[in-house]
Symmetry: C2
Subunit: 327 residues, 2 copies
Amino acid sequence: MKTLEGGDLEAELRRRADLISKAIDELLPVSRPEGLYDAARHLLGAGGKRLRPSLLLIAGESVGCDAARLVPAAVAIELVHNFTLIHDDIMDNASLRRGKPAVHVIWGTSGAILAGDTLYSKAFEMLSMVDAPPERVLAAMDMLARTCTSICEGQWQDLEFERAESVTEKEYLEMIEKKTGVLYGASAWIGATLGGAPPEVAGGLEEFGRLTGMGFQIHDDILDLTVPEDVLGKRLGGDILEGKKTMIIIDALSKGVKLEIFGKGQASQEQLREAISALRRCGSIDYARRRAEEFVGRGKRALDVLDDSPAKKLLLELADYMIRRGY
Amino acid sequence: MKTLEGGDLEAELRRRADLISKAIDELLPVSRPEGLYDAARHLLGAGGKRLRPSLLLIAGESVGCDAARLVPAAVAIELVHNFTLIHDDIMDNASLRRGKPAVHVIWGTSGAILAGDTLYSKAFEMLSMVDAPPERVLAAMDMLARTCTSICEGQWQDLEFERAESVTEKEYLEMIEKKTGVLYGASAWIGATLGGAPPEVAGGLEEFGRLTGMGFQIHDDILDLTVPEDVLGKRLGGDILEGKKTMIIIDALSKGVKLEIFGKGQASQEQLREAISALRRCGSIDYARRRAEEFVGRGKRALDVLDDSPAKKLLLELADYMIRRGY
């Protein structure tokens, strides 16, 4: 785990993703009541790229820690991420996730609420297991708790935006910082802190994670408009139909673009294609792409706190990957 | 806070409840986004007896700790309790709680999910604040996490019971142990552990909390059938209409009692009165009362690990109160 030379980024990510998937199977076995654990594990078993927990591991490596020790913390981050997916899908009434039916579609709203709640507490259980000095583990638990609070605040704002007359870009950025950025930030901070990094180094890694995470989210909004369902695992243009005020939409509205199907819940393929094409023509997709690149650039500069190492190189490559990935 | 002589139990509980309510106001202020914090605080502001956090404080006192230091931990327990109320009310489709509309009635399902999630993470934030050696705080965080997992398992079983053909008393007891007992157990264990108690003493207090908590739940099921809505703050006989398989119902069914309105969702006042009267006549309410007393008696014996003190006396009185209270 300590040497990183030779492999390309995707191979390095795949290696860590496999390690995390294996640890999930071990640390979160199906136990009684079986239905609850089936529901809790439904999306966990559906792959996903494990970017957040991989970031945690690489952040630990970048400060000289053996990443194998951090695996339960990495699992904790993945459980928190999955908990938010399950609860968000209820709130967004989304039926598809990672190409599978959403948890609430199979187990109902009550089952999905409980599956999410279970992953939430399991995350804290996992994190408390990490073999590190208690004051570091405690700091990590506190960071995870504050991060979960931020995610709730961000999701609340996201829901408010759907009802709002208009949303500014500043408000959108605050929302995605909380909803997406902080969990990437916490992943990097927790890996560094458990790995023994001093506060200023952990702070730099947090900033790296948070800013690249915001780039990731803006890129995600772009993917929603550009990647077909069979690749992305969710409906093309779903954000338009749901009335999500993404950076792209905010920019387009400010340019006077009219989107008849915005927030209408459904539309024909032809209408969807036309709406997406309008967003492209007015330059809003390109604009969002530039902003995503800008956030990732700022995030990479925050890594100046680190000495050069294979792990640092990997972090810089990961940052670029977050806005280059095709799904 | 250290001397307990003189006051009667209810005055002692009120004093601690006031302390906890004041701390909630300080530690969980309404901040942005306001709607989220209004929703999260809705039931917290509606009183409640604060029995769980008071138990935590008294458990700490019983091992010689100044309870004032434990207040953030007590608040954490109350937040977890309120998080479960908010999510349970969504699942049970309950419209009334503590005499006020349930959170989901005012803020919708999405708002209530997020309000509960926020209290969940805030609880861990509060607990991490406690001024105690980090290994003790970490042990408390781990206990809280495992307790939340148990509560989810218990609630899942409770929902399964509604669909189940029949439920045994053993299954019912396992369910209430998880759904209600463990949080009382954790309250006592966390107060003792943060207060510096050795594991066997903390273990005795956990058992005390868990068993009296089970008595509390059985008593709660009795109150549902015997206390009118204007006193209890929820609908008389609601459990019958919802088809909850409580100890009383399980006993009555085993005696061949027929309850036509069981699980029917609604009934006339006359039908409800008749059903409750049938449960009384067949002896099932008295049976449940005896079992509640038995659990409380076993719980009290677990306190043999403690030397005599005013705090121990208070714990013994609290145990009796848990199955004597009128609402």
